[in-house]
Each structure stands twice: as structure tokens, then as C-alpha cells.
């Protein structure tokens, strides 16, 4: 579906959209650099962006290793929360009373302050991958559940009745109509929760982990290396943006009819 011309058009569009953002971010970085150079402020208080970049590059192997650990936690955590969200949203769709029983519990999980809950989860699950997965799943599960549940509800009633009149079972109607109807909602939820996911993983690592950007940031801070803290922050932001971008691309590729407002003859 994404042929060469479509891809180049996509990049042109991204450039058009991103142009102003690139300009403002560049201005910010340049101003920051100029301030550090002119004021002579100590690099342990505020490192210049050039120094952050240079030090980040120097420590690229360590950074890459920790980034990989964070990415792994993010993806595993997200995969588990997606599976759980699919399972529970489907259950709730078939057994309505469950909604009232389960939603309050899910909402409570969203009210827990991460600062307090992250160390506890590390305490229970150790310094490995598990606590990170749990925390990522915890912050992304509810948005995905709500998105899916709302998506199912958005199904055209005429369509359900039509399928029923054709003899489709409830499960068949779910698969043929309710699930596809939820697709735009699903991707909207995905775009939001993927940005939470990386932050969630870093939070868990910050509370205690063997590897990952979170623990890297903690160590850099303790060694009075704000340049490396900022380098890790830069990497984690980039990671989030890349995941977000990938989500948008998948979304566009999987719903071609949304871009077809006019005939393509």
C-alpha cells in the first residue's frame, strides 16, 4: 500500500508539518548553547548541548545497551497490556455486568502515584525485567481498555441487526462488525499509551534495576554528570517519538479507506 510515490508524499507532508517544530527546537538549542558559552556556567550545573552530544556519543555503547533494555521492557510491557486489554474488553462486551464490577478496580489502578508504587513493585518482583513489564502494563492497560470498549460501542446498530438477520451469532457479529469498528479507537488509544509506556519503563528502572535508561540516569546523576543525564533523556525522547511514528504509520497502512474521501479513478 505504501509505494514509492506515496512514501515521498508522506515525507513531504511530514516535512511540511515538522518544519516549524524543527525551527523552534533548533532556536531553543542554539539559545541554550549561546547562554552556556557566554555566561561561563559550570558544565556540572548546566552542560551545553554540544557537550551533551559529545559525551553521549563517547558513551554510546553503554547508552545503547541501556536503551535496548528499556525498549525491551517497553515492548514486552505493552504487549502484555494489549493482550490483557483485548481480553478484558471482549469479556466486558459479552458480559455487561462485568463492566460495573471491573471498571472501578481498573480506575483505582490509574489513581496510584507511580513514585510510591514503582519501588514497591521492584521490591516484589526484583531487579529484572518483570517489574518493568508490570509497571508499563499498569500505566498503559486502562487507556487501551477504554479505547477498545468505546470502539466496540461505536458499532453501527443497523450493521449488527443486518448481520443478525443474516444469521450471524453474537461472536460472529463481534468479529465481523464490533472488532473492526473499534480499529480507529484502538489506534487513538495506542498513540497515547505508547508515549506513557517508555516513561513507565524508565520509572521502574529508576526505582531499581540492573539495566535500562532509568538506572543509567540515576547513576549519572549520582556521579554529577548532568550531561549524561541529558543524553539519556534525549535518547528516551527519541525512542518515544520513534514508537509514536511507527504507530501512526501502522495506523495509516491498516486503514486505507480513511484516506479515500474521493474516488481514485
Amino acid at each position: 500500500m505504501l509505494n514509492a510515490s506515496a512514501l515521498s508524499r508522506l515525507f513531504a507532508r511530514i516535512f511540511n508539518h515538522a518544519g516549524p517544530a524543527v525551527a523552534s527546537v533548533s532556536a531553543l538549542v542554539l539559545g541554550w548553547e549561546a547562554y552556556v558559552q557566554l555566561s561561563g556556567i559550570s558544565p556540572t550545573a548546566l552542560p551545553a548541548p554540544s557537550r551533551v552530544l559529545a559525551q553521549g556519543f563517547e558513551n554510546r555503547e553503554a547508552l545503547a545497551g541501556h536503551t535496548l533494555a528499556t525498549l525491551q521492557a517497553t515492548l514486552f510491557g505493552f504487549a502484555s497490556s494489549l493482550s490483557a486489554a483485548f481480553m478484558f474488553s471482549t469479556l466486558i462486551d459479552f458480559f455487561r455486568p462485568l463492566r460495573r464490577a471491573l471498571f472501578p478496580v481498573f480506575i483505582i489502578t490509574q489513581t496510584l502515584p507511580l513514585v510510591a508504587i514503582a519501588p514497591l513493585i521492584v521490591l516484589w518482583f526484583g531487579f529484572g525485567l518483570t517489574p518493568k513489564i508490570v509497571l508499563v502494563a499498569l500505566v498503559t492497560f486502562f487507556p487501551m481498555l477504554v479505547a477498545l470498549a468505546q470502539g466496540y460501542e461505536s458499532t453501527d446498530r443497523d450493521l449488527s441487526e443486518l448481520l443478525a438477520s443474516m444469521g450471524a451469532s453474537r461472536w460472529r457479529i463481534f468479529i465481523m462488525a464490533r472488532l473492526p469498528s473499534a480499529r480507529p479507537y484502538f489506534f487513538a488509544g495506542l498513540c497515547i499509551s505508547i508515549t506513557y509506556a517508555v516513561v513507565g519503563a524508565i520509572f521502574a528502572e529508576y526505582a531499581g534495576a540492573a539495566r535500562g535508561l532509568g538506572i543509567y540516569i540515576l547513576n549519572a546523576k549520582n556521579n554529577f554528570r548532568p550531561d549524561l543525564v541529558l543524553a539519556a533523556v534525549f535518547v528516551s525522547s527519541t525512542l518515544t517519538l520513534l514508537l509514536f511514528g511507527a504507530t501512526v504509520l501502522i495506523q495509516r497502512a491498516s486503514m486505507p479507506w480513511l484516506r479515500l474521501s474521493e474516488p481514485t479513478r
Binding site: 453501527d156 443497523d158 450493521l159 438477520s165 443474516m166 444469521g167 473492526p180 486505507p256
Partner: protein, 249 residues
């Protein structure tokens, strides 16, 4: 006289405190085109809802070919009020929906439907998405999805209600032509008097809610109908309009 395909006898339906239908009786003979004409909100769609089993009548009987209708077993080819095409399926796969639900593989269903695209004015649009079609084409696709199910009877709920006047007239003539060719048994819901007169053998006029059948009109057969200008049809049209405006007389 042959046995009626469908008989509705003294149907009654209310939703909570709202009495929607008080007394609906009508018959449809095999190969006959029957319309239900009534004001908006009268309960026309509700009649079809009861036939497809989406809701049950509070009272009354429904017979199909003389035997009590079992809603989940006796199936009609139903076309809902809005076209209800799936935006994520291409037109060909929308039209095969009923066959797929009936158990055919996608390939077999496609092979069955594909030859009909030309007759329905959709040739070349098999691989398009519904968003790429005009309103009239969408309605024809929805109608194609309806008729390929090979059910004993078509239930059409205001199939052309959402179209502009010109397209609607074209679609009505097209349907009249299709009907005289295929001898479908049709129950059509509409609030367009001209449409009912142009297409139907018999027309049941409903009162406003709570609805009952105010009067039944028979339209003389001179198919294929061209519709415009025939004084006999114009007279019936005027009479029906009078009935709708002054149901008590």
C-alpha cells in the same frame, strides 16, 4: 389465489410507555411488491425489526408461507434504513456478507456475486471502498448484498430515502426494472408516495403513531412502469396523499 408468502395479523408493539403499533395486518403474495407508507416515526422500521427478530411483537401473529414465523430460523433478505456498508471492506466483500455468514468461503461467495455487478451498475467498482462510491452506487451495492442471499422475501427499509431527488427517481425506475425481471417478493418501507405508487402492487398506508393500517390501495399492473404522466397513477397518488393528510376521513 396462491397462499400468501407473508401474513401479519393484528400486530401490536410498544416500547415502554410509547405505543408504537396498535393494529398492523397485512399480507404479501409470492412475487408481489407491497409497500408500507407512513409518516416519519410511525413505526415502519419497527415492523421490519419484528420480522427479522430484532424485537418481538407484544401481540398478534406472523405467518410465513402459512406457518408461524420463527424469527431466528426464517430469514429474510433485509436492507436496513441506512446502507450499513462496512467502510473497511471493499465493495465486493460487502456484497458477499450474507453468503459468508451463511457459510460460503470468501472465494466462493465472490464468484457468486461477481457476475451481478454489471446488472447493478457497479462493474469496475468491485475493489473500491464504500467511501469512494456515490450515494446511489452505495444503495445499489447494499441492494446487491441483500438480493444475493436468495431469501424468500426482500425487506427494504427506505432504500432511497437518503438520496437526492434525481438519483432517487433513477434508482426507483431501476428497481422497477429489476423487479419485473427477477420476480422478487418485496416488502418496501417508504414515506415517498410517488415511490410507493411507482413500484408497488399494493400499498398499506399507516396512521401516525400509534400506527394502524388506515387504508390499502391497489395499483393496477402495467409493468414495466414508466411512472411519469400516467393519469391513473397520478389519481392514486393524489388519493393516497389525501389519506395521509386526513387519515380520519
Amino acid at each position: 389465489m396462491s397462499r400468501p408468502r407473508l401474513e401479519l395479523h393484528r400486530l401490536r408493539k410498544s416500547f415502554g410507555a410509547v405505543d408504537v403499533l396498535t393494529d398492523i395486518s397485512l399480507t404479501v403474495l409470492p412475487g408481489e411488491f407491497v409497500s408500507i407508507l407512513g409518516p416519519s416515526g410511525a413505526g415502519k422500521s419497527t415492523i421490519l425489526q419484528m420480522l427479522i427478530g430484532a424485537t418481538d411483537p407484544d401481540m398478534g401473529t406472523m405467518l410465513l408461507n402459512g406457518a408461524p414465523l420463527v424469527p431466528k430460523r426464517d430469514r429474510f433478505a433485509f436492507m436496513p434504513q441506512r446502507d450499513a456498508l462496512m467502510p473497511w471492506r471493499r465493495i465486493i466483500d460487502n456484497t458477499t456478507l450474507g453468503l459468508e455468514v451463511a457459510g460460503l468461503s470468501r472465494e466462493a461467495a465472490r464468484a457468486e456475486v461477481a457476475p451481478l455487478f454489471a446488472e447493478f451498475g457497479l462493474a469496475g467498482f468491485e475493489q473500491h471502498y464504500p467511501a469512494q462510491l456515490s450515494g446511489g452506487m452505495r444503495q445499489r451495492a447494499a441492494l446487491l448484498r441483500t438480493v444475493v442471499q436468495q431469501r424468500p422475501m426482500l425487506l427494504l427499509d427506505e432504500p432511497f430515502g437518503a438520496l437526492d431527488a434525481l438519483t432517487r427517481t433513477q434508482m426507483q425506475r431501476w428497481l422497477a426494472k429489476m423487479w419485473s425481471r427477477h420476480h422478487w417478493t418485496v416488502l418496501l418501507i417508504t414515506h415517498d408516495v410517488r415511490e410507493a405508487v411507482l413500484l408497488s402492487d399494493r400499498i398499506h398506508v399507516l396512521s401516525s403513531r400509534p400506527a394502524h393500517v388506515v387504508h390499502q390501495f391497489r395499483v393496477p399492473r402495467d409493468h414495466p412502469r414508466q411512472g411519469v404522466g400516467s393519469p391513473a397513477l397520478a389519481a392514486i397518488e393524489a388519493e393516497i396523499l389525501q389519506t395521509l393528510l386526513h387519515p380520519e376521513n
